[in-house]
């Protein structure tokens, strides 16, 4: 727990938004600026400004312009969108399941989405009507099927639907699906590189196409979740309590699960499996600014996107010119924090009894 005065100071919600927006903007500028070719911040602003307002800036280096507009900006935006999607989905799942250990990864949703994506790549499937969107659509469908299966199975095992059961089910399903992915890798020939590269998780060399894929899903999921923040508050006191407060629990729960899977599925579709963002970011945000979902969700979006942009920056600069998969970086930061959360939870529980 923080010291009281820090808490009051940070509790000012306006300040919270200013700080996290500033964090996001700084991360973006750093992400665009740093690389083999370093681009000064004023130049970045000028280039992007020129692009948005369609004016012919003077003295804009054309090489800088193409690096910013074709390589780094889409990469930063994609990292930001993926980070935001995973973080807000994690925050929503944690509220819904009343447990800070829930996230798209521990619930097996990421693995489900991966199966969808790997199947698409492996069989080279292209669905009619959706075309280029086949991969994200299949990822999302598999993500949602996974959630439903986890909940269904957990309810069969334990009628009370205890969160521990849900998480355990998620982890078991995760490993099960993981072995399926391994099987497909073992059987794959020329798709191997594509699948492996995709599985490790990366936002490099994706270009604007991928942003077009994730963006609509991101907006839909974001709007639905932001419209359900008060319901999430109520449901974090238990579903029965929420119902007594007037929440239409069944419908809201389905909406939240659906949009959480939507966000996770589309994020996995464009960037592969990136763990721990959905777990750590909401938890940190909650520790600093409190558990009220009306603020927790938007703040998680801002912090999550900034965090993944920075993680991506580290992954491509730390052993330059080679790149580390971004999933490695988030896991390296996330796993110790996960352990810390677990320890503190246990302590709080034993202290409470």
């Amino acid at each position: 727990m923080q010291k009281p005065f820090i808490r009051t100071f940070l509790n000012n919600k306006g300040l919270a938004y200013i700080i996290s927006t500033a964090f996001l903007i700084i991360s973006m500028l750093l992400g665009i600026s740093i690389g083999t070719v370093s681009i000064p911040v004023p130049a970045i602003i000028e280039i992007i400004g020129a692009e948005i307002f369609r004016f012919q800036g003077q003295g804009i280096d054309s090489m800088h312009e193409s690096i910013v507009m074709d390589i780094r900006l889409p990469r930063v935006l994609l990292a930001g969108l993926v980070g935001a999607s995973l973080a807000i989905a994690g925050a929503a799942f944690q509220g819904l399941l009343r447990n800070p250990l829930a996230d798209p990864y521990t619930l097996g949703i990421s693995s489900g989405a991966s199966i969808g994506a790997v199947i698409t790549l492996f069989f080279g499937i292209s669905l009619p009507l959706v075309g280029a969107f086949t991969l994200p659509v299949l990822s999302i469908l598999f993500a949602f099927a996974t959630v439903l299966f986890v909940l269904f199975f957990a309810r069969r095992v334990d009628r009370l639907l205890r969160v521990e059961t849900i998480i355990l089910t998620g982890i078991i399903l995760s490993s099960f699906l993981g072995s399926f992915i391994s099987l497909m890798i073992a059987l794959s020939g020329e798709e191997l590189r594509q699948i492996i590269g995709w599985l490790l998780g990366s936002v490099s060399m994706r270009g604007w196409e991928y942003i077009k894929i994730i963006f609509p899903f991101f907006i839909i999921g974001l709007v639905i979740l932001l419209a359900n923040t008060r319901e999430l508050n109520a449901m974090s006191f238990g579903e029965e309590r929420a119902q007594h407060l007037g929440v239409n629990v069944e419908r809201r729960k389905l909406l939240i699960l659906l949009s959480g899977s939507l966000l996770t599925g589309s994020a996995v579709a464009v960037s592969g499996t990136i763990g721990f963002v959905g777990l750590v970011i909401p938890h940190l945000t909650r520790t600093v600014w409190g558990p009220d979902h009306r603020h927790l969700l938007p703040l998680s979006v801002l912090i999550g996107s900034g965090f993944l942009i920075l993680a991506d920056l580290v992954s491509r600069t730390i052993i330059a010119p080679s790149e580390l998969p971004i999933g490695v970086i988030t896991a390296l930061i996330g796993a110790p924090i996960f352990a810390l959360i677990l320890m503190r939870n246990r302590k709080e529980r034993s202290a409470g009894q």
Binding site: R159, F237, R241, L245, G246, G290, P291
Partner: protein, 480 residues
């Protein structure tokens, strides 16, 4: 307000409730009682809409429960849960504010001044205003209960459902909460339906009670009717004793633990335990005796083990003789809480005592009598120890029987002896203490026609007469 008809249902495993019907009126404080597993919580869950039922109907304000939308229902009815779950450290005010959910409209619900005022008001009413910025995980059980009560009240419900509201509360807040509920029920026409484990609290506060057994309604009636000793004994399968509240006209039930059996079955109070000293007579019982007395300490009905008859000088005069007596007892090694204490100016050695027996029945009597001076009141103190288990009415009958025996002695002595008959009966400061060991066979009556009554009559007559005569002769000896 709430009409439940032929309600049947339960969980997947089997039916918990079988054909429950009752009605709750507006502004009523309605209690649901029953042993563990009788279906109280299931019934409350069905009324709150959290659990579906298979057959029957629940109408709230004349409209079937199933026709209410969740939000409509939340505006009509609030529930105080038995255990609040808190996964995250919400602040108290955030928690209470959630109670306004059902009153807010639109997707991005806005917070109005009215909402703020109501939240402030309910926090004030439940005494948690000073806690509003604290996190709920840091609160004590009682404080949490108050926070959830405030949350329920913020819903501005017409009906409040509670599942054992006093569960985590200490004594003073139990009372405070129930007093508050009672007040709201009366002032704001709030209908309160609550499960109680504590039959005595339910008796004190509820207008009507519903007693459940095995998923069925046993009786719905006033506390006095529902909490009949025999009924509760049968339903809860335990030893209890019904006893009226000392201050208000409500029944209270007391548990009777299994006897520890440590005492000798033939135990008897007799002269072995008596110690007649210079300035006091003491009887020290090895165990507590059920007493009814009009002494100075330990008066009224209670349980006592020491009996002290203190002799004070004739001039003794003290404005607060109760406190002085307690001090005296303490100084002489008696616990005032365990002692029946009396006072007299009559010398200790003139007291008369004797054990009277009739078959298994035995009583031990000590009488100290003083007719003293003409201008001083008469003073006869009587201790009556009954070696048996007697009922409350037997206590009263014993007192009457003893008084009659005493008067007949006085009439006899005064009538034949001193010429000024009748006058001495003027003012009296007589005291009596009846103590029973409450073991062995039960004796229901002690009227003059019963064996016990006869024994008392005889004993009191004998001892009182002897005591008066002893006193007179000692006076005469003193004068000479």
């Amino acid at each position: 307000m709430i009409t439940v008809k032929n309600l049947t249902g339960g969980y997947a495993g089997g039916e918990v409730l079988k054909g429950i019907s009752f009605e709750v009126c507006e502004g009523e404080l309605f209690g649901i009682l029953g042993p563990n597993g009788s279906g109280k919580t299931t019934l409350l869950k069905m009324i709150s809409g959290a659990l579906n039922f298979r057959e029957g109907s629940i109408d709230v304000e004349g409209r079937p429960l199933t026709q209410y939308s969740p939000k409509q229902l939340a505006r009509m009815m609030a529930v105080l849960p038995q255990h609040g779950e808190q996964a995250f450290p919400y602040s108290v005010k955030e928690t209470v504010s959630l109670g306004r959910y059902a009153h807010q409209k639109g997707w991005f619900n806005s917070w109005h001044d009215e909402d703020e005022q109501i939240v402030q008001k309910v926090m004030e009413q439940t005494g948690i205003t000073r806690l509003q910025d604290k996190s709920i995980v840091e609160l004590s059980g009682g404080e949490k209960q108050r926070v959830f009560l405030a949350q329920a009240l913020a819903q501005q419900p017409r009906i409040l459902l509670l599942d054992e509201p006093t569960n985590h509360l200490d004594l003073s807040f139990q009372k405070e909460l129930l007093d508050l509920l009672k007040k709201w029920a009366a002032e704001e026409e709030l209908t309160v339906v609550s499960i109680f484990h504590d039959l005595n609290l339910a008796s004190l506060y509820c207008d009507r009670l519903l007693l459940m057994e095995n998923g069925e309604v046993l009786i719905v009636d006033t506390p006095a009717e529902v909490l009949k000793e025999e009924r509760i004994k049968k339903v809860y399968k335990t030893q209890i004793k019904n006893h009226p509240h000392p201050e208000i006209a409500k029944p209270q039930l007391l548990l009777v633990p299994e006897a520890d059996g440590g005492h000798d079955a033939d135990f008897k109070i007799d002269a072995r335990f008596l110690d007649v000293g210079q300035d006091r007579i003491v009887l020290q019982s090895p165990m507590n005796l059920r007493t009814m007395s009009s002494g100075i300490t330990g008066a009224g009905i209670g349980w006592h083990s020491s009996f002290v008859h203190r002799v004070v000088p004739m001039e003794y005069d003290c404005s607060d003789h109760k406190a002085e007596m307690a001090e005296y007892l303490q100084e002489n090694g008696f616990l005032p809480s365990e002692t029946v204490g009396m006072m007299t100016a009559v010398p200790a050695e003139t007291a008369s005592y004797q054990l009277f027996e009739d078959g298994d029945l035995s009583i031990f009597i000590i009488v100290s009598a003083g007719n003293t001076h003409r201008d001083r009141p008469r003073n006869i103190n009587t201790w009556l120890f009954i070696n048996g288990k007697i009922s409350e009415e037997a206590f009263i009958q014993s007192a009457m029987t003893a008084a009659e025996a005493k008067i007949s002695v006085l009439n006899e002595l005064e009538g034949s002896g001193a010429g000024s008959a009748g006058q001495s009966a003027g003012i009296s400061t007589d005291s009596i203490c009846i103590a029973a060991i409450q073991q062995g066979e039960s004796i229901a009556y002690a009227g003059t026609a019963t064996p016990l009554g006869k024994l008392i009559s005889e004993g009191i007559y004998t001892c009182t007469k002897e005591a008066i005569l002893k006193y007179r002769s000692s006076k005469a000896a003193f004068k000479h």
